[in-house]
Symmetry: C2
Subunit: 290 residues, 2 copies
Amino acid sequence: MAHLLKGKAVSDKITEKNLERMEELREAGIVATLATIRVGDNPSDISYEKSATKRAHLTGVNVRNFECDADITQDRLLELIDEINHDDSINGVLIFRPLPPHLDDRTICDALAPEKDVDGITSGSLAGVFTRSGVGHPPCTAQACMEMLDFIDYDLTGKKVTVMGRSLVIGKPVAIMTLNKNATVTVLHSKTTKEDFIEAGHNADVIITAMGKDGAIDRKVVGKKQIILDVGISVDEEGRICGDVDFDEVESRAEVITPVPGGVGSVTTAVLMKHVLKAAKRQAQSKGLM
Amino acid sequence: MAHLLKGKAVSDKITEKNLERMEELREAGIVATLATIRVGDNPSDISYEKSATKRAHLTGVNVRNFECDADITQDRLLELIDEINHDDSINGVLIFRPLPPHLDDRTICDALAPEKDVDGITSGSLAGVFTRSGVGHPPCTAQACMEMLDFIDYDLTGKKVTVMGRSLVIGKPVAIMTLNKNATVTVLHSKTTKEDFIEAGHNADVIITAMGKDGAIDRKVVGKKQIILDVGISVDEEGRICGDVDFDEVESRAEVITPVPGGVGSVTTAVLMKHVLKAAKRQAQSKGLM
């Protein structure tokens, strides 16, 4: 039986530290504020908006939800971001993505002031993942994986990490972040051969899977006594949220495994608040308020 | 017997295309100009300065060599970079690194205007490696590896690439660049176990080694019929420049192998000129001159 690593315990630990950060800001007379920007009414955006807002309120972080019509022009959205960039009362910004196709994702992302980029979408934050000295923050989901490993005191030095997926929000950054922690890292994706996929899956000490393919990680893909972080999200035929891992097949072979839902995903909003509070502190320090 | 892939043929091909780019600029009345910034008198910096200057002249690119005392203050160096950023006659800048330890490398790198960053050192360029839409350019040595593979029409899709080394100038960017070309990528480094090193070496279709350890890649590490790009540079006891590969042991097993010297390193300056000419064109276009 694997140890079931639920997100709640990890999230609680981060939140505990967040409350200390909050207290430190309060003593300096600062109210940390997160802005969210949602374009259109995508249900998963609305769901994330709700959970982020709830988490913010539990932490004591103020939230301003900006809602835009699905057909907002790129110029108007850029204007809004510019206003938020110049609004000293806002410390961090979360933009729900993917954006509708008429908006250029990279242009929108890079319009955001890097110091308010609490979800690692600007070039400054992405470069910071490479250099470890960026002004921004790593993408929250990638950071959530690192928090899970931290929580179980797992030292990545010399360990083999296999990352499945190569997106900008999770696969690529988490590959570099685990590499920076001295892991030997392999990245697999849709163009990887089936044979290589199974081999790299079997051989890993840690599997981080973020493909969004229900059941893709079954008994054939995994080895024994592994740490398995399931970051995949998909919805099955019955409307249930699923991870990439075929949990029933894999669970007994793993050393540590995260569930979906209630795993890595549930840590993301606590990480987001951590980033907002860190951003608020940096901004206060740069103004000499702390 | 492996096919010996020398840098000269690749460099010549890039230069041929560079001359076309040059001609196009000339017709628009533009003289492309590279600035080099050298701090102190490190022999390897002087050697790279000479070869870049020579290559520039062969291509028809103008060069301005800025030389600074080894004890230049950070403020003075930042002033110089700011002057160059605002000098419309300069299209690209090459800063020789590593800089002396009293200068903060990341601060200096990020002071450079991203549009003049022809060697991929700014956050904008590094993020561009992730997103493939940066304003800058990839690091020249990483791009030189891609040019070698292009030259032999090698399709990376589904192939296993093993990168040895994780520096910001070569290991990390080339890992992401080969991943972007659909390779399954593994990154090894000094903390990788010996066993994992040998396994990932053996299993690779392509080895890109950039460790700077003379002879580290011997018969035990490589498999058969591989493409081996040697980007390592070190100097042996007799003062000769060496790669990472024990050439005599490995050459007969490889499908394609690059020598050192005369391999990947000799392609770097042609790539640099390509980046300068592309930068000059982009800058001219943004001013409506082309």
